[in-house]
Amino acid sequence: MDINYTAILPEIMLSLVGICIMLLIPFVPRERQTHLGYLALAGIVLAFFGVAMGWGQTDLAFSEMIFQDDFGQFSKIFFLFVSTVILLISMNYLEQEKLFQGEFFVLLLFATVGMLFMATSADLIMTFLGLEVLSISTYILAGFKERERKSSEAAWKYFLLGAFSTAFLLYGIAFVYGATGSTKYLQIAEAIQASPDYSLILFVGLGLMMVGFGFKVALAPFHAWTPDVYEGAPIPITALLAVASKGAALLALVRILYQVFPDLSQQWQAILWPMAVMTMAIGNIAALTQSNIKRMLAYSSIAHAGYLLVGLTAHNPLATQGILFYLVAYAFMTLGALIVVQIVGRREEQHTTIEDYNGIGYRYPFLGIALSVFLISLAGIPATAGFMGKLFVFSAAVQSQMYGLVVIALVTSAIGLYYYLRVIVSMYMGEFKTEKIPITISMPLRIILTLLVLGTLYLGILPGSLLNLAEEAASF
């Protein structure tokens, strides 16, 4: 029995701190509940230490259920960073909305645990558990603003469709288990390699699993929940969904397709190809005429999932590297954009239409520049992280000679330019309406935004260092 605690030290830390906070909640006065966020922050710091302590080991751990490879380390650090940012903006958000409930932080920490497991799992059971821990936490978090109708609706839709797709995923896992005799990644791969005549059951399992993951990553035609849930959920949770949840599912999918089913690549590429096309098309086209910026960003994130899928379909080492890079770049720009949305949205998220951004560029130059950088990066204009990400991902596809896919990607990308620029135009050329409540940016948010802007530009001009890290991680 090999219980290698160091392998899951970060997750243990996060869970323990989460439980601590949960226990403390009744004892903390209502107005101070948001301070529990600092405790959560401490938990994440401890988790970082946990990752550091487990550094350097490479074998499977925990009864062969956890990978300890570079890919895993990269993912863990990525998710911990993303969670930190989301935690910080959540604290600001909860204060602003006067939602004094410490459970928020507990759920956030548990969601992070789920993400970490998904990215490092070596067994389908583990993946499922991670997925569910993440999902259940986010179902609750999406509906956190109980008095807000949209929030409850978002939570309900997310739950319904999420549970529905999880059932499909589970069904798929069961079939794969039945066809190959194991739930452990490496053993499944061996079994597939050993007997080259694949049974229908195996394919059915693979297909159903893709349904489940497709939902989580928001790929067409499983994307429908995204605009509604992103719109209704509180903004920090939108950020969580758009970046962390999507990322976790994507990374788990990368592992599954590349480590478990590499021999079936022809089969799953055939499915991913049309999915990518649909995803990019729907994401970009539907975003064109949105008036709510959260909804627009939701469709935008669908489109970006499409681009990532282009990379995933390519199935070569450059693709993995590109996906990892793109994910980081995507995190920077989406988090940044959503933070600005939170700041401009103010109390009760009253100002989340594109018209609310009229003239903001000149009144609040800091916000204007920050949002412009993020939008330009999302649009994929050179000298930004978004461009570099697209460059690498599309290059990977070209390397696998998927020219048609790349062409479609470029065309949809060009179409997408419009809705990003529209906001920038509105910011700088729109007429500023006098407002009842001025926009305030707290210092922590200012710092985070500055770092994100600098990061976006840095990755766009000097991608080298991140690329090298991604390359190491890509070799599993």
Partner: protein, 650 residues
């Protein structure tokens, strides 16, 4: 120690440009000036110190590179941000930073009190940075960055007084013509990459010397590359057919004309060819074209210069003409001689321009030669220094221009191109003519200045301040002395050629070392012929403009068509207008604009846009808000996938 870090000299002017550009609006003028002058001074200092250490290195070690970082790495295309210091770039960087520094000093006086002071100095600093990058780059791509950068700065500085319509037009003309040339340049660089799989100089040159060991007989890829690069050079260095921007560029402030359009930027094309000598020396067809274009340009420009009324325009055409000489040198394979003339020309042409600036300032912005005269008693320093520059450009012995021009002419003749040599001699005569014409009309004879006649409040022109005259004196000194590093073979060692030799080591050495190289007697005789022709030009100018001023006018009236031809610059601008610009504009307006743009393309664009909008609305409508519908989609997707797998399964 300085030598290892030679490359940091490019950073100083960049910092200066950034600070002046971003914050300069709030700086007082002395701060702006001090800042930008000191950055260039620092660069020059580093260059000097590097040179000092450089010549202490043994000859075979005189090639230093510094790798900053890898800029682009995509597949097997690698482009580095790295720099090369070898004899050629050493010479260039000294010229750029040295002359650049002098001109910064000069600008203190010349631009005093102008609005937009900070802009000027910021752009000037930026230019030094870009030019340094161009000269110090160790690969074609980085050189191109500098190439484009100097073009940008040229545009910004020509259009410095952007309120004037003419300045804005001139700036645009410069930029557009440069860009046209750059298309050729870029295609050449792409071809280089395709042929040699690298754009690093040393890698390419090594490959060329191995792959093309025998002189090719047909116009192959090497010919294409060299020709394309040369097209870029005709744009940047104002040769036929893309030179027409340079005269117009005189709209910019005079120090700008001196620095950019005489000493440095326009020499970028010459530098590029010198740098690519390994390629060019193996492409005889292109070399021939370059020589012919060079000397033709020299002749054409010199002819036009003889009848210009504007003092700066004379000098502009003179620059074009002298550049033609440099290209002639390149075309006959005398790369070292071309660089030598580049060096001396930098000194005396900058001197002449700066001197003309001093005159213009003293006369309150009068630039018409026929409204000047007799200024020698008012502007003594300018007078003496400009004469030194004039003598240098005319090729009077002892002055630097004599040695460099002679080197070119001799090498041309020695390579067997007697006809080109003869044309070169004619140009020398014309050069002597127009430059002495300029001097006579400006400084000698009666005073024709209008202001003077009308008894304006401060009628007598005054010599400008020390910041103007000091650079003049220094440049005059160099115009005199710089020649001695390149003595012809019958007088001694050509130190410059020896120094530059390592830079040309990949050159094709198949050309039979001409026996003529050592025919000293012939060389001396030819030199004397040139001198005689130059003297003739000088005497003619004296006759026309001092002894007998009416002769010029009478000649002009006797041969009105010839005079017009020259006056109107051979109508080339008009020809271009009629042949190219006019039709392009007409086609643009009618076919492309009304026809294609409005109907087809706008139609397409708006049509696509409305189509996208329609689709967007339809997609949005599908998203009905009903969760059950969404769930149906999930099921639908699942069924499709399953169906597909059922269908293809064994």
């Amino acid at each position: 120690m300085v030598l290892e870090h030679f490359w940091i000299l490019i950073l100083f002017p960049l910092v200066g440009a950034a600070m002046n550009g971003i914050l300069g609006r709030r700086f007082p003028h002395p701060v702006i000036a001090w800042l930008s002058c000191s950055t260039v001074a620092l660069s020059f200092l580093v260059a000097l110190l590097s040179f000092y250490n450089f010549i202490r290195l043994p000859e075979d070690q005189r090639i230093l590179t510094h790798h900053l970082f890898t800029w682009i790495q995509s597949g097997n295309f690698i482009s580095e941000f790295s720099f090369l210091l070898d004899p050629l770039s050493m010479v260039m960087i000294l010229v750029v930073t040295g002359v650049g520094f002098l001109i910064h000093i000069y600008s203190l006086g010349y631009m005093a009190g102008q609005s937009g002071y900070y802009r000027y100095f910021a752009y000037l600093n930026l230019f030094i940075f870009m030019m340094s990058v161009l000269v110090l780059a160790d690969n074609y791509l980085l050189m191109f960055v500098g190439w484009e950068g100097v073009g940008l700065c040229s545009y910004l500085l020509i259009g410095y007084s952007f309120e004037k319509r003419t300045a804005g037009d001139a700036a645009k003309k410069a930029f557009i013509l440069n860009r046209i040339g750059d298309v050729g340049f870029l295609i050449g660089v792409f071809l280089i990459f395709r042929t040699f799989e690298s754009v690093q100089y040393l890698t390419v040159f090594q490959a060329v010397s191995e792959q093309f060991a025998v002189m090719g007989t047909e116009f192959g890829v090497l010919g294409a590359i060299t020709l394309l690069l040369f097209i870029g050079a005709t744009g940047k260095s104002a040769q036929i057919p893309l030179y027409v921007w340079l005269p117009d560029a005189m709209e910019g402030p005079t120090p700008v004309s001196a620095l950019i359009h005489a000493a440095t930027m326009v020499t970028a094309g010459v530098y590029m060819i010198a740098r690519s000598a390994p390629l060019y020396s193996r492409a005889p067809e292109t070399l021939f074209i370059i020589a012919v274009v060079g000397i033709s340009t020299a002749l054409l420009a010199a002819l036009i210069a003889t009848v210009q009324r504007d003092i700066k325009k004379v000098l502009a055409y003179s620059t074009i003409s002298q550049l033609g000489y440099m290209f002639l040198a390149m075309g006959v394979g005398a790369f070292g001689a071309g660089v030598f003339h580049l060096l001396t020309h930098a000194f005396f042409k900058a001197l002449l321009f700066l001197g003309s600036g001093s005159v213009i300032m003293a006369l309150h912005h009068e630039q018409d030669l026929f409204k000047m005269g007799g200024l020698r008693k008012y502007l003594p320093v300018t007078f003496y220094t400009m004469w030194m520059g004039a003598l240098a450009i005319a090729g009077v012995p002892l002055f630097s221009g004599f040695f460099s021009k002679d080197a070119i002419l001799w090498k041309t003749f020695a390579a067997g191109n007697e006809a080109l040599w003869l044309m070169g001699v004619v140009v020398a005569g014309l050069t002597a003519f127009y430059v002495s014409r300029l001097m006579f009309l400006t400084f000698h004879g009666g005073e024709r200045s209008e202001k003077h006649h009308q008894g304006a409040p401060d009628p007598s022109p005054k010599e400008p301040s020390w910041s103007v005259t000091l650079p003049l004196i220094i440049l005059a000194g160099f115009s005199l002395l710089a020649g001695y590093i390149g003595l012809p073979s019958y007088l001694g060692n050509n130190r410059l050629e020896e120094f530059l030799a390592p830079s040309f080591r990949f050159q094709f050495s198949g050309q039979a070392a001409s026996a003529m190289e050592h025919a000293h007697l012939t060389e001396v005789i030819l030199t004397l012929v040139t001198l005689a022709v130059a003297f003739l030009g000088f005497a003619l100018a004296y006759h026309f403009y001092i002894k007998n001023p009416q002769v010029a006018e009478r000649l002009a009236n006797r041969f009105p068509w010839l005079y017009s031809l020259l006056r109107r610059k051979f109508f080339l601008d008009e020809i271009y207008d009629w042949l190219i610009v006019g039709p392009v504009q007409r086609i643009s307006r009618t076919i492309l604009w009304k026809g294609m743009d409005v109907h087809v393309i706008d139609g397409l664009v708006h049509g696509t846009a409305s189509l996208m909008q329609a689709w967007s609305h339809r997609v949005k409508r599908i998203q009905s808000g009903y969760a059950r519908l969404y769930a149906t989609w999930i099921l639908g997707g699942a069924l499709l996938i399953l169906f597909y797998y059922y269908w293809i399964s064994p």
